[in-house]
Every structure is written in C-alpha cells, then in structure tokens.
C-alpha cells in the first residue's frame, strides 16, 4: 500500500467553487474541523474541514433507536453490523488555496475539484508550505460564520490546529496574532473573543 492510499481521507461527492463534500471510506473517520486537507496531486487544491456529518445512506431512511437492550454503544454496533452499511460519514471542506508551479496561491481555485477526486491529509512539509503565509485567514474569517452557523468556530478550530502544529514556536504565534490583530482592527470584540478562546 503506498503513501497516497494511506493518507487518503475520502472521496469527493459534491463540489463547487467554495469547496466540496467528501465521503469517508469508513464510518466516523473524518478529520476534525479546522484540519488542512489536500485534493489531487498535480495541481492540488487545499482546504479546511468545516463541517462533519454522519447520516443515513439513503436520505429518506432515517436512523432509528436500537439500543434499548444493549449495555454500551460498542455492543450495539457489534450486535448490529448492518448499521455501518446504512450510515455514511462525510465532511465539508472550504477551499483556501491551490498549488501552482510549486507556489501556494491563497483563495478559491479557478475550477472546483472533480467528483471522486481523492482527499488526502497533508504531510508536514505541505503544512509548513501552506502556513508560511497567513493570507488565507481573511477568507477563512469571512467564511467562518456561515460555514458552521456559529461565530468564528471554524476560525478558532483552524487556529488551534495551526498552533498545535508549532506548539513552542514563538515567532509563529506572534505572526499569527499580528495577522489577527490586523484582520480584526475594526472589530475588537471579535478579536478579544478569539484571543481568549485560544488562551493566548
């Protein structure tokens, strides 16, 4: 099994200019909100996981409660192997940039990724490359509220994801804080909330 199969997170089932929806191969195996993911290999698109859902495979067949006699959820799944076949986990990604000529361009890709394109988790070097500049934060901030329907949850999750990548990197933290301060210079309440949530 090669690397690219190992790192595969799912496959695109819906796609548009803003982003895409990918379905996981295994139930509940979606990346967490705020994770940077990659689509494609040659001129890959990068995006941030903004929403995760698990639901019935067939939209008019709702899940029903089955655990009345079970002692734990693990047992419930073990005793009802068909459930895994009837449910599907998928995640939404907002597009944030793409690689062209070995150079990251932040913003929306000119063409949305194709259906069935594979979605991968990013390698450390891809993460490093993408997070060298923070220009995507303004796009992310603009999308944050609409994506989850909660103020700045997506933004905060992404910032956490980034800070966890470089836990003791003072310069990176400073750069991030500086970018945020500039971004929210006219909305200080938002800035203060974010700073507090990140415990900076």
């Amino acid at each position: 099994m090669n690397m690219s199969i190992q790192n595969r997170l799912g496959e695109i089932v819906e796609s548009n200019s803003n982003g895409f929806v990918a379905q996981c191969y295994d139930l509940y195996q979606a990346p967490v909100i705020g994770t940077l993911v990659r689509v494609g290999t040659d001129n890959p698109t990068f995006g941030i996981v903004s929403y995760v859902s698990t639901e019935g495979l067939n939209s008019d067949r709702k899940a029903i409660a089955r655990g009345k006699d079970e002692t734990s959820i693990t047992e419930l799944y073990a005793n009802n192997p068909q459930i895994a076949q009837l449910l599907v986990t998928s995640f939404e990604v907002v597009s944030m940039g793409y690689l062209k000529d070995n150079h990251i361009s932040y913003g929306l890709p000119a063409r949305p990724p194709e259906i069935h394109a594979f979605v991968f988790s990013c390698s450390q070097s891809e993460l490093d490359h993408f997070f060298t500049e923070l220009d995507f934060l303004s796009l992310l901030a603009a999308r944050s509220i609409s994506a989850v329907g909660q103020a700045d949850e997506l933004l905060i999750s992404t910032l956490r994801f980034m800070l966890d990548l470089y836990p003791a990197h003072v310069t990176f933290t400073q750069k991030l804080v500086k970018e945020l301060a500039q971004l929210f210079h006219s909305d200080l309440n938002r800035l203060k909330l974010i700073i507090r949530r990140l415990k900076l």
Binding site: Q174, K178, A181, H185, L188, L191
Partner: protein, 543 residues
C-alpha cells in the same frame, strides 16, 4: 542602528503635516523612538528637492484608539505587545527649514529657505556630516567650528564669523552652563581669523589671562593664545600683581573723562532722581571740564551756592553728591594730570590689537563696571562714527569692525536703564558704524525687548527661567518648537544657536576648550587655499 543607507540613518516617512506646523514623520519599525532626540538635524528626501530641518517634538500614536483595551485581554505580555504593535506607532515632528538640493542653480547658492514641503511618504534621515557641512559651511578663514550637532559627534557646525560680527549677538544661559567657554571660543576665532578687533569688558577676569574651569583647571585666555595680538589693560594693577600676571597697561580714568552721560548711565544703579540726572548736565558748564572732581570736593556751603546759581533745589544737588561720593574712593579715577589711557585703548584698537580690560577686584563693584564700560564705549563709538563718516565721504576704507564684549549685559540693558546707556544705542543702530556687541548674559528676560530683538545671532545654553526663554524666542520663527528644544538642553556645554548667521537653528555640543589640542587649533593659522595653489604652481615651474 540598522537602517543605514550611505551612512545616513533612516528615521521614517512623512505622513502628514503643514508648512506652518511642521511635518509628521512615522518612525520606521527598525528605529527605536528612544534613540531619537528633539533638536536633532534631519534631511528629508522630497520628490525633486532635499530639505534640511530639525526634530521639534515626538509622540506616541494609536491607529486604533480602542486597542488600548487589549492590554487586559491577552494572557502573555508578548501577545499583548504583538497586538499593540499592529496599531501603535511613533511620530516625530520635523520642521523643514531650508532646501539643500534641488535644481542645479539652487545648489550653487547654498541653502535656500523652504517655501514648500515634501510630499507624503518622503523618506526622512538623520542629517549626515556632509549635510551639516553643506548647511553650516566648513571651518575656513571665515567660518569657525562651534561644536557638533546632536546625535552626530563627527559633524562640525560652523558659524560664519564675517556675517556674525555684522550684528550684535548674544550668548545666554544660566550660571555654569558654558557661556564663558563659548565666548572664549568665539573671541579666539575672531582673533585667529582676523575678522574684527575685540574689546572685552572682562568683569570676571577670565578672558585675558587664564580663566578656570569648574574643576579648577586653568584655561588659557586670549593673551596666552595670541600674545602680541592682544593687550590686557587692568583697572586694578595690584590685583594683577598679586596674581603674578602683569597686565600690559593700567587703565585710569581722569576726572575730565567723566561726562554727565556717564552719570546718566548709572541712574538706575545709583537710584538717581530725574531732577538729579538733569542737574548733572549743568555741571560742566558751571565747573569746567573737571566738574566731577570739583563737584565731589564741594562743602555744604559750596553746594548751597551752586544750587542757587543753577536754580536747582539744594536737596537735589546734595543727593546727587551723596550718590556720586562712592566714586571718590575708586583708585582708578585719577587726576587730570595723568596720561589719557582711554586714548591709549583707542589707538591700540586702531592698530588692530585686541583689548581685554580686566576689572580685578572691581569685579564686585557693579557701579564701577557700568561707569567704565559706558565711558569707554561712548568715546570709542564717537571715534568710530567720525572715522566711518569720513571714510564714506572720501570713499576710503572704513575702520575694521569692532566687537565689544560685555558680561552681565542685562545690568546695562534692562528696560529701566537701557535708554541711558550707550549699549542700547549700539545694539539698535551701530551696525552701520561697524561696532557691534557680544553680550553675555544669564538673564535675557530682563533685557529690554527692543534691544533683544536687534540681536542677530543668539547662542543660548540652558535657561530654566520661563521668562528668559520666552524673551529670547519671541518673534523668532518656529519659536514654539525651539522652546521645546531649548528647554531640554543639557546643563553644560550644549547650546542652541539661531538667528542671522545660521541658516537653520541648531543644537550643538560646544567644542572642547581647555586641552592643549584645543589651543593648537586656534594657533594654527588657516591655510589659505589660494596661496597653496600658488606654491604648487611655482613648484611646477621649477621642476
């Protein structure tokens, strides 16, 4: 500092401002505001011109006032600082005074008054040594090096002495700030470069023979530096003998030398009434040229007679006599049979020899100082007026300019007495006769406003009295800004120079005076470039 470009230190960009108020310059992120001092000379690179000016003020700004709150939000000081830095910035205020480069024509003429301002985002630098020498000139046969500007020890600020002596000038500062040292430097420069002839009323005995520094080191006076070019006259030969430094000449004042005008100049200090002053003018007619002597030796009876003859109140005459009696005790006031030493001084000056008049122990006697200074100055002025008028009538050479140095000048020039002293006349109108004053004083605030406004160039050390500062700066362009600069001078050896003979106001650290090297600089005669060329030419001829 990091932002260096051809040895110029970058300060920031012009972001705002006006010709009247000065320019606001946003400090570049590589520059620490704490490294910048008010008064520092700067240059501004405009689109097609270069401006030269100085820093007048500085302040801290927020692009976003509300961000001040953020200090309470973040948990770590680094994060707070990072957030603050996105909005906080420092601004310096710069006053552009002259244009030092633009089209070729203006370059040739030297600095030109700035009648415009540079556009937004023009780059502002600390002035370089070359900029400073372009604006203030280089030490040569007319320019004297005075000191170095703030933050630029390597540069030399020079003063054009030829321009300088065309007007009366002033050296100010409270006691112990370096006035006497600065005065020595200017006097020595005038002698060395042969710009004018000096007459120094050396009240505190520090300019002729050695003076001393506060640390007690002796420092050389003009006589020691220039020997035969300087004559020391003394009012108190005994003092000079005690000091084992014989003066070249003793100065005596004969009774007949004293004129009613001299009494008038003492009106303030002697507290003379208007009537007594008026009456003194009648005395020479009545008592002859030795009226002073005759009057002082009169008995009560004589005074009574005299009063009747002059139709003055006896009490007026008695009080005049009482007030003048103190002069009877002065040893330098002598009989008419003695030689005319005032004429001697005049002849000495005419020969181009500088005169320092030491007061010896009369240092403490203000009345004696004022009497002698007025009396001499009036005689000398008369001479200069006559000679200058003759010279103009016959189209011949006018006498060499004369610079009269007086310490404690406010004693002559306060509003209450200045109208009676010769010095205010000179300050007001004597330019045309080639006689100007160098007044050295610690209380410019009590000098008559009109006299002060006639002062061409002001060199002022630290002053802490508001009234003195205001008096010096009234009517000066950029006065409000200069006040900021002046009030922050160091307590010693730093001076703000502004006025007629400097194109731009400038703060200098006064050049060091008192070491053997410092004397050498005054004793070397300046090599005249033309003679140098001639020598080279003649060598070529013979090789």
């Amino acid at each position: 500092m990091i932002n260096q470009d051809n040895s110029r230190v970058f300060l920031g960009h012009v972001i705002n401002g006006s010709l009247e108020q000065g320019l606001l310059v946003k400090i570049g992120s590589g520059t620490n505001i704490e490294d910048i001092q008010v008064g520092t000379p700067v240059t501004i690179d405009g689109q097609s011109k270069r401006f030269f000016g100085y820093i007048t003020d500085m302040r801290l700004e927020w692009a976003n006032q509300e961000l001040q709150d953020i200090t309470t939000v973040a948990q770590t000081p680094e994060v707070t600082r990072t957030i603050v830095e996105t909005s906080a910035f420092s601004v310096i205020k710069v006053r552009p005074v002259v244009i030092i480069a633009g089209d070729a024509a203006s370059l040739l003429d030297g600095p030109e008054i700035a009648k415009t301002i540079p556009p937004h985002l023009s780059m502002v630098y600390q002035a370089s040594a070359e900029d400073v020498s372009y604006v203030f000139g280089n030490e040569d046969d007319r320019h004297i090096w005075i000191g170095s500007p703030l933050a630029l020890e390597s540069a030399q600020v020079c003063l054009n002495l030829e321009q300088f002596v065309k007007r009366s000038n002033g050296i100010f500062g409270k006691s112990g700030t370096g006035k006497s040292f600065l005065t020595r430097i200017l006097l020595a420069g005038i002698v060395q470069k042969d710009i004018a002839v000096n007459l120094v009323f050396d009240m505190h005995n520090e300019y002729g023979w050695q003076g001393s520094s506060e640390q007690g080191h002796p420092v050389k006076g003009l006589k020691q530096l220039f020997n035969s070019q300087v004559a020391v006259f003394s009012l108190d030969p005994e003092f000079s003998r005690m000091r084992k430094k014989a003066p070249d000449f003793d100065l005596t004042i004969r009774h007949q030398d004293i004129e009613p005008e001299d009494i008038e100049s003492l009106a303030g200090i002697l507290n003379l009434t208007e009537n007594a002053r008026q009456a003194s003018y009648k005395l020479p007619r009545e008592l002859g040229s030795s009226w002073f002597h005759e009057f002082l030796k009169m008995s009560g009876e004589d005074i009574k007679d005299l009063s009747a003859r002059l139709s003055e109140h006896e009490s007026t005459m008695l009080s005049l006599k009482r007030r003048l009696d103190q002069f009877n005790r002065l040893a330098f006031i002598v009989d008419d049979a003695q030689g005319d030493s005032i004429q001697h001084i005049i002849r000495t000056l005419e020969q181009g020899i500088h005169v320092v008049l030491e007061f010896g122990r009369y240092e403490e006697n203000l009345a004696a100082y004022i009497l002698v200074a007025n009396l001499l100055t009036r005689r000398i002025r008369r001479q200069y007026v006559t000679q200058t008028e003759q010279a103009m009538a016959t189209n011949s050479e006018t006498p060499k300019p004369l610079v009269i140095t007086i310490e404690e000048a406010h004693k002559f020039l306060t509003t209450s007495v200045s109208q009676y002293t010769i010095f205010s006349t000179i300050a007001r109108e004597m330019r045309k006769y080639g006689v100007t004053l160098l007044i050295v004083d610690q209380r410019p605030g009590v000098i008559e406003e009109e006299v002060l406004s006639q002062i061409g160039t002001k060199l002022t050390c630290q002053l802490d009295n508001e009234r003195d500062v205001d008096a010096l700066l009234t009517g000066t362009s950029g006065g409000r800004e200069l006040k900021q600069v002046l009030s922050r001078l160091e307590s010693k050896q730093q001076a703000l120079i502004f006025g007629h003979s400097v194109p731009v106001p400038v703060v200098v650290r006064t050049r060091e005076y008192g070491s053997p090297e410092s004397y050498k600089l005054f004793q070397n005669s300046i090599v005249n470039p033309t003679t140098l060329d001639l020598e080279l030419d003649s060598k070529d001829l013979f090789s």
